[in-house]
Symmetry: C2
Subunit: 228 residues, 2 copies
């Protein structure tokens, strides 16, 4: 069985306003439900754990049911950090049935079912795989205010999600993690640290992370292009 963990327990201070960003409306529907849809539609995923702020957990399932997106879903209250939230979700997964765990950002609504499948299948082979996109900007390494060098953009990729891992590997990676570290937002990094060769799967640059009001405007535009 392959399980998705949707990390949606953040409180989204960067976005301003009262609601966490994953509940802001995109084309009239909270972002988190847009994010659920490709996982519900993906034949490679048999269960979806949505990690939410504790105060948002109560009404979520009935709302998801109402719009037909709760078939595979259960809810786990999150922690103070992303790492703590993912770790709590991991602990609720049965070790005897889980094969691949796909961890995904709750504010990346534009991933496609076939992208999820490609990452899940690659993780079965190598133990871990994540979606990536090309680096569009020139990247400088700096030391203080001085440019040390220009990196070779061709060998760089931006990490997207989902990031998929064999269940036992991800558990092992999280055992060594400092769950209180708010900077720990990259599951693949933890897995790389225990010596697993993670596979980079070329995904779409449309799989954006909505973290600012400008991102939300761009997301509305992407949605219109998609014809939804």
């Amino acid at each position: 069985m392959n399980v998705a963990i949707i990390a949606a327990a953040g409180r989204g201070e960067r976005m301003g306003g009262n609601r966490p960003k994953q509940f802001l409306l995109l084309a009239g529907t909270p972002i988190i439900f847009h994010t659920l849809r490709p996982f519900e539609q993906c034949a490679s995923i048999q269960e979806i754990i949505v990690v939410l702020p504790a105060e948002e957990s109560a009404g979520f399932l009935s709302e998801a049911h109402r719009i037909g997106l709760a078939n595979l879903v259960r809810v786990v209250p999150g922690g103070e950090t992303r790492a703590e939230s993912v770790s709590r979700a991991l602990l609720t997964i049965s070790p005897t049935t889980a094969e691949i765990v796909a961890v995904h950002d709750g504010v990346r609504p534009f991933v496609k079912p076939d992208e999820i499948t490609r990452a899940v299948e690659a993780a079965k082979v190598s133990g871990g795989a994540l979606l990536v996109a090309p680096m569009t900007d020139t990247v400088k390494e700096v030391s203080g205010a001085e440019v040390v060098r220009t990196l070779d953009r061709k060998s760089l990729r931006r990490a997207l999600t989902p990031q998929c891992f064999r269940y036992d590997i991800l558990r092992r990676a999280y055992e060594g993690a400092d769950l209180h570290d708010p900077a720990l937002t990259d599951d693949s990094f933890l897995v790389e640290q225990i010596g697993i060769n993670v596979t980079a799967i070329e995904g779409s640059a449309r799989n954006i992370k909505i973290t600012t009001p400008e991102d939300l405007v761009a997301a509305e535009a992407l949605l219109q292009e998609k014809g939804l």
Copy 2:
């Protein structure tokens, strides 16, 4: 005298449509004129060279005059690549009067006059300086489809423009450049290659480069926020 070179000779195939992207309308005005404004307003800049596709050069100055943005402007027809375009503009600058040359992308309309000034002043000290923004994505180094390592995001910056250099340094950097290389889009790289310690000046992430239809939508949103 400090001279700005606005690189706007691209034909913008990525954007689709018939017009080069620097002429697409942003709030009713071609992007290139939005880009000109902060340079016209910046007390550190005494001359602006706009490098345009040859077929767009004729009507540009009269249109710029009409909206009050041609005080400091002259036009140079561009080449086949960005490097060739910048090189042609450089050759039209008088060596006896030029101090700093600020090279800027024609499709970055949101740079602010004080950011230009900070980059110009830093270039006077070190010989070269460019605006940068933090790296928001996690960056992976890959070899083929395998993740080699996760880079330390804290020491990485995204290169923005303007990139400012002492005139003699930029001339020297361009003497060794392959002007036919379409991948040569980063003036700072050329200057780093001849051993100059380029300074990274923290600029605003709002200084985006408009290269896709989604960028144009995001730009409209940024403009509204700005209250223009």
